[in-house]
């Protein structure tokens, strides 16, 4: 019987979108059965349009910047878009997969993607905003799989 990986994806920024999809797609390649439960801001990662994913240097002192930049400057309009643009360029230059590509690889590998119904209601999201092939469920749905999993991580 194959091993099982249960992930919770709770963050919706471009940088934090990577860990769940990288781990899930790799585990699937290693013949794991994988489920990702998307909750709160993580739900953004299931939207049809991933173009809104951004990265913010604000409040993240570990983010490498070309020049030292105080928080006061980082909060200026346009800084977030600029940081996002720079990050996307780096991703391309370094041969790192796009989130869309990794998500597609997960879908191809039959990774089960579950959207937290409570968060969908909370944020007034519509089911048609999300990609096809996902399921909707709650915490008990997560534990049904996670309780039998070999690895379980919260991202």
């Amino acid at each position: 019987m194959s091993k099982k990986l249960a992930l919770i994806a709770s963050k919706g920024t471009l940088d934090w979108a990577y860990p769940p999809f990288i781990l899930a797609s790799t585990a699937a390649a290693l013949d794991y059965e994988v489920q990702i439960f998307f909750t709160f801001y993580g739900l953004t990662l299931l939207k049809k349009d991933l173009g809104d994913l951004k990265v913010s240097p604000l409040g993240n002192p570990a983010m490498p910047m070309p020049v030292p930049m105080p928080n006061l400057v980082q909060m200026l309009p346009g800084m977030e878009s600029m940081a996002t643009m720079m990050m996307k360029q780096k991703i391309k230059d370094k041969g790192v997969a796009s989130i869309e590509e990794l998500r597609n690889l997960c879908l191809e590998a039959e990774v089960k993607l579950i959207a937290c119904q409570m968060t969908v209601d909370l944020f007034d999201f519509k089911r048609e905003d999300f990609i096809d092939g996902i399921e909707f469920g709650g915490a008990a749905t997560f534990f049904e799989f996670a309780g039998e999993s070999d690895v379980s991580l919260f991202v």
Partner: protein, 76 residues
């Protein structure tokens, strides 16, 4: 070394070389040999780990000119 299929994973970063390798293995039959060329330095350890966990056999590994070449035999 002789091989049945070649995968060019140059310029790709983690986890793409592994994911492409998995796909390429699916396209050959058991016992056949896949040659992989990668530039990701992390792939050296990753392919070893991949083989250990999936039962595919890493026949050889060599390095030269910033490229890493692997020969992998698909498990029965």
């Amino acid at each position: 070394m002789e091989f049945d299929k070649e995968l060019d994973a140059r310029g790709l970063n983690c986890p793409l070389p592994i994911l492409r390798c998995k796909k390429a293995l699916a396209e050959i039959s058991a016992g056949k040999v896949l040659k992989i060329v990668a530039t990701d330095a992390g792939s050296v350890k990753d392919f070893q780990a991949f083989c250990k966990q999936t039962g595919n056999e890493l026949l050889s590994f060599s390095e030269g000119g910033g490229e890493y070449t692997f020969f992998m035999r698909k498990r029965a």
